[in-house]
Amino acid sequence: MSTMLQYKCPCCGGKIEFDSSLQQLKCPYCDTAFDAKDLKDYDEVLSNEEIQEELHWDDPDSGQWEAGEGMNVFVCNSCGGEIITEPTTAATHCPYCGNPVVLMGRLAGDLKPDLVIPFQLDKEAAKEALQKHLTGKKLLPKLFKDENHLDEIKGVYVPFWLFDAEADANIRYRATRVRTWSDSSYIYTETSHFALLRQGGLAFDNVPVDGSSKMADELMESIEPFDLGKAVDFQTAYLSGYLADRYDVAWDQSIGRANERVQKSTQEAFARTTVGYTSVLPESTSIKLASGKAKYALLPVWILNTSWNGQKYTFAMNGQTGKFVGNLPMDKGAYWRWWAIWTVILGAGASLVLLLLRLMGII
């Protein structure tokens, strides 16, 4: 069941949005601000009000969107305009009046997130980060910075599954330690072989896995880590002014990815306990994972889409830490120019080293 929630200023009735710099809801018209601690109560008040209102469901008679296309239509409570959304959209803007809209039904019941990390950085910070991302890169086409067009910039609360896990590892390594010495006639090499046994546990908290099929997993992992210590209990008011999606990849489909990462980290942590050997290779590895209940969280991400030379480039910024990622095109001419420059520099250095070795009689 879906209902729409629009945050309006109790003082002037203007639309209010979450302000990441103040960490409060703020009315841009009368400058009234609301403390975060009041948001929960405010949510409840608004929810009770909205439940009295008419519910707007998919309009099968609209004729513009076939059922198979999976689009939903809502009517804006402020201006009466139609808002068309994807089935996973949980927060958006009315395309006519620009008012922020939260679709309560997509955040209720099993779909209600446990946690949310509020946006800490605003749109301007994302734009600045993009400019910084484009500077100092020698192989970036010079025209890209000037000509690329910022098509879209949006703050999105992306659904993530957070997994707690306890790994119990039983790993056996084969190790060698090599010692060499010599007398007047021979060089001796002694190789001692060892079996190393390591058993123990390692715990992980809040390993995130992107729960939205729309977001590229690689892109979302690249902006990690998120500081889940600063996550708060979910309140819809945080979503006002941003876009939000509900998950469409269930937790049991996501847990495999979390387990892969936990296993890898466990192997690395135990391998670090095998010190003092010349070589160490794992012979048998058994890692049992006990996972706790997955938590559902909405995490803040700025998505920036640009286009250049007919190609689209997507960038993402962690809305909490500011970590900015996004692949860039390469200027092949610049690549070979820089290769030639470095070849001359390193070639001259290598020639001098060879000359020195020759003069010293080593080669």
């Binding site: 046994l197 123990g200 390692l202 390993v207 860039l328 390469m330 690549y335 020759r358």
Partner: protein, 242 residues
Amino acid sequence: MKRILICLSLCLLLSLSLALPGSASVDRLVDESDLLTDSEELAVEAELDRISEEWDMDFVIVLPETLGGKDEQAYADDYFDYNGYRYDGALLLLCPRENARYLSTCGEAMDIIGLDAIREGVLGHYEEGDYYAACMGYAQTCESLLQEHADSGGFSVGLLIIGLIIGAVLSFLIPMSILKGQLKTVAPKAAAADYVRQGSMNLRVERDIFLFRNVSRTAKPKNNSSGTHTSSSGRSHGGGRL
């Protein structure tokens, strides 16, 4: 005035003659045993003179009847030290009557004239009794070793090309991969190290069990030069028995 000029000219001539290398008039082939014919002697001596002047060292062959009670090392070293040869050079001693065959090197030649190479160039002919070929083999081997040393001792186009090839490969591996890496910032996270619970690592079993050991040995590479020793004159010499 005329007398003064004559005196000055004589002094100049005298100083010039002293400044000339002392080896200019020394014999570089001393064949007391008559192992070579006269024409062979001329040919060998001409070759030794040419090489010696060209490389500014003295290359000498001594073929004595006997060693006069000295051992071959002392005989060869002393002959080279006390007969007016330059400091840099090498002397080949062959005395079939006393089964003496020895190479003595001195100065810069100690690093250039290797015992193994001289063995290869001389010994076969010597054992066959072909002393002329043995002497010419010595001269030619010395010259080729000198040439090889000169080629390898300085900067060359070959060295520059090798350096540039190394530079080209290194620039692919280091600076270019860093510059290219700046453009690719999207990559999956293989591990979850950021989410390890602080202090949760619990190592119940940590055992290192010794299994066995094995020892292998490899022979040290033989040193081509025979090391150095000091002759009766106090000079350092290299070389050795062929």
